[in-house]
């Protein structure tokens, strides 16, 4: 079923459960649709006026249809209680501890994804909207804050290590966006005025994309970010590279 549905490749742990739920519900839909479809066509042919000039006032007897309806209801209840509720609970609230996860801030704005890593100290520097500068400091990071010194920021480039939980603190600066990682089966609206946590465990290395799936203005279609999932070593290497860049820049400034 998953093949048939044409879902994107899967690269996260919880994604398997989501895919499983999607295929289960599509099985139900398929059975109902094909079953009723066959009945429908049969009935149309069998009871066409030329063949059946006189209709039968009574029609169908028996409780056949009630059984189907109850069956559908039970199936839905099973999907809800057995799958949907637990998966949602996990996705929302079983957030691993920050100490054993990669923690990233993603701040969306028209039409970019600002990615913010805490750097070596593991603590995000202070940000303030008064410091925002569209060109040089889109996040409004306060460089006087000691925690901010080693923070790494990128635009549209999200790198993550594989097989380790990722926690993303998602927010938006201007309008509502929606942070969508198709291969991770992750999607979360980014609501201005709120920070919303998202977590998942990438389990395959490779490159993919961040899509915006909420209309956010005329550049909505090109609000595209890049996701790179790599081994821990590669990831550390990339971080070091970014940190080095940061120092170069600082040298250049003062």
């Amino acid at each position: 079923m998953e093949q048939f549905l044409g879902l994107p490749p899967l690269a996260s742990v919880h994604g398997a459960e989501i895919d499983n739920l999607i295929s289960l519900i599509h099985w139900l839909m398929l059975i109902l649709f094909v079953g009723w479809g066959i009945y429908f066509i049969y009935a149309l042919i069998r009871f066409r006026a030329p063949r059946q000039p006189k209709a039968d006032y009574g029609g169908v007897k028996g409780h056949f249809s009630s059984y189907i309806e109850v069956g559908v209801a039970i199936f839905e209840a099973v999907l809800l209680l057995g799958f949907a509720f637990p998966i949602w609970g996990m996705v929302k609230y079983e957030i691993p501890s920050e100490s054993e996860s990669t923690v990233v801030r993603v701040v969306s704005e028209q039409f970019v994804w600002n990615i913010h890593y805490p750097g070596a100290d593991g603590i995000f520097g202070r940000t303030s909207i008064d410091l925002v500068d569209a060109e040089t400091n889109p996040l409004g990071l306060d460089y006087d804050d000691p925690y901010a010194k080693d923070d790494i920021t990128t635009i549209n480039q999200l790198h993550l290590p594989v097989d380790k939980p990722v926690i993303i603190h998602l927010s938006a600066k201007d309008v509502i966006h929606s942070f969508f990682l198709p291969v991770m089966r992750v999607k979360q609206d980014a609501i201005p005025g709120m920070t919303i946590p998202v977590w998942f465990i990438p389990n395959r290395t490779g490159e993919s994309e961040i899509a915006c799936s909420q209309l956010c203005g005329l550049g909505h279609y090109r609000m595209r970010g890049f996701l790179t999932v790599e081994t821990q070593e590669e990831y550390d290497g990339w971080l070091a590279e970014q940190a080095a860049l940061l120092e170069d820049e600082e040298d250049g400034w003062w």
């Binding site: 929302k92 609230y93 927010s171 609501i191 005025g193 709120m194 920070t195 919303i196 946590p197």
Partner: protein
């Protein structure tokens, strides 16, 4: 309409009595307002008094007590939906996986 006028006199008297009650309740709610109760208590008191006043207006001025039951059901349905809206909004406020950024 034989006994109409005396009946209507009692009606007029009822209306004036209701007016008195409403005026008193207004004064009461304002007085309570000056007591500066804790917010929770203040809300409960103010809204209870308002509901009582509202009930008086609806029952007597709008004749709801003697109105057809169907109207009553309609209003109950409406109030029910309104309460659903209000309560779900309240739940939605608390049951949200995210923190409000305070600036």
């Amino acid at each position: 309409m034989t006994s109409a006028s005396s009946e209507l006199d009692t009606h007029t008297r009822t209306y004036l009595a209701v007016f008195g009650a409403l005026a008193i309740l207004t004064v009461v709610t304002v007085t309570v307002g000056y007591l500066s109760l804790p917010v929770g208590a203040a809300i409960v008191v103010a809204l209870s008094i308002a509901s009582l006043k509202g009930a008086l207006v609806a029952s007597f001025f709008m004749h709801l007590i003697s109105e057809q039951k169907s109207i009553l059901w309609l209003l109950l349905l409406t109030l029910g939906l309104l309460l659903v809206l209000i309560f779900i909004l309240i739940i939605a406020f608390y049951d949200h996986a995210g923190t409000i950024i305070v600036t």
